[in-house]
């Protein structure tokens, strides 16, 4: 085993080691001497503490040094300012070559951490800042925990990435706070966009025994430690229900995991089973089972895809491929929004909130304009009610967003975005009117989802200022912004678009001016294969269920309903026009739209009987596996074509788009790592999208 650890250390040779620094302190109230271990990797809070093999061994040495001492009454562990510890150092994980190495890492964590629960003196975790994964597990191994009410994030995010909290988390947490609450932290939160707990919420759940304010958190924690040591404070925790409640919680979690993932990602289900068994296992049994789970999962393609996806959103998203030098960007001090519909309103609110500049909406119709501005003001009131902004800020935001019947109000705007009806002549007309009033430098952006930017700009005096700026609905939820470069779009317009996207806190991806850009092209293709199967005679329920093994956030027909059948039809027509051999227009969908149906499903989630009547095709039904296969093959083929056409720079950008614009999951890494894994890329294109492990940057 030790050789495996040495090998692992070698693979983590770039580890930023979190050192465990011991210092003797005199506890207050004459309680005696304690060893206080500070976890600190020597960097500031922007580089949080993590545990690689070096960090684990440093902690081990610190614990061992305290173990032999007869002159101490307690051992406490805390972090560096703002950070406790955020878990395992995952940087070396992709480099692990075999299961033995993975097993060794898992076991090393257990061997070190468990000592915190097996010393002769009580141990205390003083959770002063962000704590995740292995950081939380360090705290769980201690006898007692205090937490700062200022902790911004505490989580066991492992299942979100493709692991389990396997350094004791699946055993210690349910035995501390019960299975139901533990599964909320281990399963529910990670599967809900990796939700984090705040210090107060963690305390409420019983993860910590005492909570203190951040201003003098360590001092007050040490006073509490002293009181516990002296017996002046007795920690009482509610008894954990190890009966029916445990089983019920586990069954509920199984149901949730199955419902969300359909077996697509192994980690959450594995974590649930570990929690299920934690009820009766001994520590040794439980920790050994965690080691095995970690070893299996570390070697799994889903974890590789998860880590790749994590790097996409954490790293690639911050440095968009192909973005011009940001110094070229122009300042945006006033924004114009053409249109006053729902999309225009969402954009106006976003621009006002994030850019903090005046935003003028225009519409030809006073009534629609009033409604548009009123919508934005109403949304501001909602923010006020929720306490997200105070009254002053609400007043300010409302004052920023105004309406005008004429485009004269755009005269001093330097960024005008249109969100009008999706017709080329309409948009060209709008841009011509805007160009007549704005300065020659003002950026003209379009939120078109499928029309050509180049064509839209073609009739302008300054076509170089036109850029595609395609948001995803709901704008406040989906991070993606496809920034589209037309044939004549210049570097300044592009740089300004990227700089603006950054201020809007959006994930910008540069796309070529190709029909429907990235996300809509692929989703339409994907849905087209499902609708194609329906056309041929497959039951719509069967076709819809066929892609469930991917574990997508919603089924194709559910997505169709969300997008709206009419919009979906329109996009498919556009794409059919561009690529008739690969994009079909579903006659059944056309019927649904013709019938004026806006929903596919009835309120009970069964297909609306009237819609179902329209979704009847031929007499050549396909099996689910056949439909999945053809959908995946179509995706692989299309993505390869898009890369060859240069729609985006790399496959990683496709995945980033699908994750941030369509909510496609981490465990598929967007889609290309999955297509490689199941061999579809190779079969269709003769080569995988990624040579070796997928790389985000």
């Amino acid at each position: 085993m030790s050789t495996a650890i040495d090998e692992a250390r070698e693979l983590f040779k770039d580890e930023v080691v979190t050192k465990a620094i011991s210092r003797d302190i005199e506890l207050p109230y004459g309680a005696g001497t304690a060893v206080l271990i500070t976890l600190d990797n020597g960097h500031d809070h922007t580089r949080p503490n993590t545990f690689g093999p070096g960090g684990l061994l440093s902690l081990d040495a610190a614990i061992e040094a305290a173990r032999g001492r007869k002159d101490i009454v307690a051992l406490a562990v805390t972090g560096k300012p703002f950070i406790f510890a955020v878990g395992a150092d995952l940087s070396g994980v992709p480099a692990l070559q075999n299961r033995d190495q993975a097993l060794a890492i898992g076991k090393l964590g257990h061997d070190v951490f468990r000592k915190l629960g097996e010393l002769d003196v009580p141990t205390f975790a003083l959770v002063n800042g962000a704590a995740m994964g292995g950081g939380v597990e360090v705290a769980l191994h201690c006898t007692y925990r205090t937490i700062s009410s200022g902790v911004p994030a505490l989580a066991l995010p492992e299942t979100f990435l493709g692991l389990v909290p396997g350094w004791g988390g699946t055993y210690l947490l349910p035995n501390l706070i019960g299975a139901e609450k533990a599964l909320k932290v281990i399963i529910e939160n990670p599967l809900a966009q990796n939700k984090m707990l705040k210090g107060g919420q963690a305390f409420e759940l019983g993860i910590a025994d005492a909570m203190f304010e951040p201003a003098d958190f360590v001092e007050e924690s040490l006073r509490w430690v002293a009181k516990v040591v002296k017996g002046d404070v007795t920690v009482e925790r509610p008894e954990v229900d190890k009966g029916e409640a445990w089983d019920n919680a586990v069954n509920m979690a199984r149901f949730v995991v199955e419902g969300k993932l359909h077996g697509a990602a192994p980690a959450p289900a594995r974590a649930v089973e570990l929690v299920a068994e934690a009820r009766t296992r001994t520590r040794d049994e439980a920790f050994a089972a965690e080691d095995e789970a970690l070893a299996d999962l570390i070697m799994s393609p889903e974890l590789k895809a998860g880590l790749y996806a994590f790097d996409l959103v954490q790293k690639r998203a911050k440095r968009p491929a192909g973005a011009p030098d940001k110094s070229l960007a122009r300042k945006v001090t006033k924004v114009g929004v053409v249109g006053a519909g729902l999309m225009a309103g969402q954009l106006a609110l976003l621009f006002a909130r994030r850019l903090d500049v005046p935003v003028v909406m225009t519409d030809l119709d006073q009534d629609r304009l009033d409604k548009g501005v009123a919508y934005v003001h109403g949304e501001v009131d909602k923010l006020l009610k929720k306490g997200r902004v105070n009254q002053d800020k609400a007043n300010h935001l409302k004052a920023l967003v105004t309406g005008s019947l004429t485009k004269d109000a755009f005269a001093d705007a330097d960024f005008v975005i249109e969100a009008v009806f999706e017709r080329m002549e309409v948009k060209q007309q709008v841009f011509a009117e805007v160009e007549a009033v704005v300065s020659p430098e003002a950026i003209l952006a379009t939120n078109t989802s499928s029309l050509s930017i180049t064509e839209m700009a073609s009739k302008l005096e300054h076509p170089e200022r036109v850029v595609g700026f395609h948001f995803f609905n709901p704008v406040a939820v989906l991070p993606l912004l496809e920034i589209v470069r037309g044939e004549k779009t210049d570097e300044v317009a592009l740089a300004t678009a990227f700089a603006t996207a950054k201020k809007l806190k959006k994930t910008a991806v540069l796309c070529k001016d190709a029909p429907a850009f990235v996300v809509n092209r692929l989703l339409t293709l994907f849905m087209g294969e499902v609708l194609g199967a329906v056309s041929e005679g497959t039951e719509p329920e069967t076709a819809d269920r066929a892609v469930a093994p991917l574990g997508l956030p919603m089924s194709p027909l559910m997505l169709l309903q969300l997008v709206g059948p009419a919009v979906a039809l329109h996009v498919s027509e556009t794409l059919h026009e561009a690529f008739p051999e690969r994009f079909a227009v579903s006659p059944e969908l056309a019927e649904v739209v013709k019938a004026g149906k806006t929903a596919i499903f009835a309120p009970d989630f069964s297909i609306d009987p009237e819609v179902k009547k329209l979704l009847v095709g031929g007499d050549e039904p396909s099996a689910e596996s056949e439909i999945l296969d053809r959908a995946l093959r179509a995706l692989a083929k299309e993505i390869r074509i898009m890369l060859d056409e240069g729609v985006v720079a790399e496959a990683a950008d496709i995945d980033l788009c699908l994750i941030t614009g369509a909510g496609w999951p981490f465990h598929t890494g967007g889609i290309t790592p999955y297509l490689d894994k199941v061999g579809v890329s190779e079969a269709v294109n003769g080569k995988p999208f990624h040579e070796g492990d997928p790389k985000a940057v």
Partner: protein, 399 residues
Amino acid sequence: MPRTARDVVFVDGVRTPFGKSGKGLYAETRADDMVVRVIRELMRRNPDLPPERIDEVAIAATTQIGDQGLTIGRTAAILAGLPRSVPGYAIDRMCAGALTAVTTSGAGIAFGAYDVVIAGGVEHMGRHPMGEGVDPNPRFLSEKLVDPTALVMGNTAENLHDRYPSITKERADAYAVRSQEKVAKAYADGKIQPDLVEVVVRSLEQGYGLATKDEPPRPGTTMESLAGLKTPFRAHGNVTPGNAAGLNDGATGAILAAEEVARELGLSARMRLVDFSFAGVEPEVMGVGPVPATEKLLARQGISMDEIGLIEINEAFAVQVLAFLEHFGIADDDARVNPWGGAIALGHPLASSGVRLMMQLARQFAERPDVRYGITTMCVGMGMGGTVLWENTNYEGGK
């Protein structure tokens, strides 16, 4: 509107342990964090005081830049979690900063403008060495307004030896040895510790630690060990690091209240502010400042030094204490003077020290119901002295 001055009482005082500047306890600790810890501890020790009843937070610092800048009374109040409605300000009279914070805000209470205040001071002389960023007006020297030695405190102490030739280096050293002995005894008797609040300290190399006691004291100091020390301010001079206070980091704070408000809220009233006085002297002998300040005060109150039962005098330099004692005809080892030792042993983080004198006086008052009056007095750079007269609320002599 007719107005009656109200009695002002010292409710409570707390301080951080004092550290040695440079590589000492607080080398990597911010000054404002130290003040915050003091304010929060004052609030914890006085749970009957509703925080919204605090009308002012007056915090002194000599060097008001960086973590001691930005109107530290206000920033510390916010950082300490006091309600936003509680105002605060920064105050400066160099070494007498905290003392002035008390007299100024205390006067505001007497005037009726405040009910309850927090007054204190801080100096992190490691982060802010004496004289940091100063820009003395050239006229001081061109017009000979002050002697060139006036800006270096050690030089003013040497000057004071010149003015009082009878105060020899041996007398100064002997005084310093006694100060160390008294502090060691006070620590052993547990007199000092109750006013301390432990402070977390962090070092990149050593991790988090806890400051629980003063770092500067050197118990076991002897005449012999002092004799060989250098006299950095004058060749063959009298002033050494041994008979002067060091360079230190620390923060202090006190709650003051109108006596009637303290009664209403159930706060303790440990001593009563009777009067205070400040006076100026030649800057080059600033150490003599407490003499005229105290004379002025006693004259106004019509009481003599014999009636003062306890004297807490800051020990910036032994010579400056001895000059004061010599002037008033008090013996060098008079038991009334600094019974628990002083700044030579404990340290003197400039603007914070005034409130340390007060918290020690208040505790001595509690032990000495036979004593009615006590003073806290300090010398101040640029040639000043400040003295505050306190009445023991435990005084039983009148009964």
